[in-house]
Symmetry: C2
Subunit: 378 residues, 2 copies
Amino acid sequence: MKKTYLMTPGPTPVPPDTSIELARPVYHHRTDRFKATLEEVTRLLKDLLQTAGDVFLMAASGTGAMEACIANTLGRGDRALCVRGGKFGERWGNICEAFGITPVHLDIEWGDAPDAAQIARLLDESPGVKAVCVQLCETSTATVTDIEAIGQVTRDRDVLLIVDGVSGVGALEFRMDAWNVDLVAVGSQKALMMPPGLAVVAAGPRAMERIEAAHAPVFYLDLKAAKAAADKSSTPFTAPVPLVEGLLHSLRQISEEGVEAVWARHARLGRAMRAGVRALGLELFSKHPADCVTGIRVPEGVDGQALLADIEATDGVKFAGGQAHAKGKIIRVSTMGYAGPFDVVIALAALEMGLSRAGYQVELGAGVKAAESVFLEG
Amino acid sequence: MKKTYLMTPGPTPVPPDTSIELARPVYHHRTDRFKATLEEVTRLLKDLLQTAGDVFLMAASGTGAMEACIANTLGRGDRALCVRGGKFGERWGNICEAFGITPVHLDIEWGDAPDAAQIARLLDESPGVKAVCVQLCETSTATVTDIEAIGQVTRDRDVLLIVDGVSGVGALEFRMDAWNVDLVAVGSQKALMMPPGLAVVAAGPRAMERIEAAHAPVFYLDLKAAKAAADKSSTPFTAPVPLVEGLLHSLRQISEEGVEAVWARHARLGRAMRAGVRALGLELFSKHPADCVTGIRVPEGVDGQALLADIEATDGVKFAGGQAHAKGKIIRVSTMGYAGPFDVVIALAALEMGLSRAGYQVELGAGVKAAESVFLEG
């Protein structure tokens, strides 16, 4: 028997109570019972996203939700400013290109976050850009973006603000309406404490106007059809009922804790994780570290991929490595969703032992000690 | 305590053993463990579909798989022959239109099946048609189509045969390669005995040629990306791991029973169901009844919607009614997937009692008796 610990930034652990929901008998989606479930899920998602806008559920991964945001609001020949500072920023551009939309890339160093003033300048230089596409948390670099500041830039222009909230929403502060976000994409397998397979799109009034006016090449991800169905507390196609029931369970847990308390919990976990990393003499990968996932630079002389493989094989703790050109250079530790202080303790203890086995000098216990100090501060 | 019975043609009951799989802890999709699962699922799906072609999994409803078949192989300005004899036949046309593809409709009466000779004539009259889109089982009318005969027509022409197998594959005889089917779409929530949320597309060599050559406006449902990932036993985006594990469990059950034995079981259930219906003096809705779902014409003087509501409320048995203009005119009883002789007995007993309560004269037990006779024949 070896206990295992999933600490990747998606999928993340599912609370046992939510797992049980997934195993319950399937029932029909065209029923009052499902209608009531969908209504409660929608209400709780609106609370979580802090929006009075429309919320749509779909059987898809987070990428399906990202595509829905783009394909329903922009058309062939349109231009969209895509912030590209990691793998998921690149995805915005790739999605645009698939639909004949020209991405105007704002390239930033991996680990850096986009600056609202830079975006404002680029928009001024690029008339006709119809949307800004950005990540709340760029998971590949463990970086958080100041969405509120960017919303100040897009608000008064005829430019939509489209946010990939897949790995941030439910963990990081996010106020869709107050921050002037027009569209946000969310996936189930991150801070929503669910398995992958369910995606959420929320759309504000400016986005809905574009959606209603568009003649988009969409069918399965058609948000006009989603809106017509949602207005009747339904979905256009067969809903993945057990996943929606599971999500309801997770959302109720978030609601019970309180949305702001959930953000505060993640902030504290992130702070403790970073304190531990620094106490071990390690460097953070990101200049704007996110609280839900911590990126640690693999120290000189250590083989990052071998280190992670050893920690998983020896201690049963699964961290994520780097993607694309960050492969082998970064260790990513998720503290999002179903996570508490002892997950930080486990992560740091595993790092300490793993680095030690790799021949890298660390003071055993120093990371854990620093994290405990943060937790004792409250 | 009231026992309930889900007898709708999707979703269908999930075997308890499969349900348990859905509740297991989530694990990461970029692992050898998931690779092995995906390889076995792919192998078992190829056995089930009787194909040496490519098989792709996606987090989506069956409609997503239907869209993937169309959007990856046909382009703006292309024409596709769409057989329209029910709600899902209509969907082929709607998907085509969403992508600027012109549907050439072959309209047939609801409850009738398309004739291969008719399709051949229409293809001869409509040069340039690039695909024929048809249902294996048109669920809305409980009708089966002779795909093999249509495959003889499309085989020697430069025309793809695209089959909606969502509610047929896994229940009805289906031989993708031998019948010259180029693309088939499958959903998890029908004969595959799974909850909704997972879709399958299988593509033969002629389809793969088109897919590789196309510049399709697709991203999430991009089958080129799916092929590149599948060749490495992977998926392009985050896979819904628990659903894939659940599907593996169901496919193993099918494999253990034997694919041909599964078809024979469904044929027998369908035969018994029809014998029971006829013994009650009721009429079948379809001229070519499918074995996996039986459509019964609501008799004169009976309010179909009230009848189904009463049977559900009183006896806990959920049948499906009619869709669109068949609303109130048809009762649809599924015997697909996790179904055996006593499900037919329950369905007929519920019908007998429900019709009786509705004031319609039936001989109580006559339907069940006829079904038992079929089962005793073997």
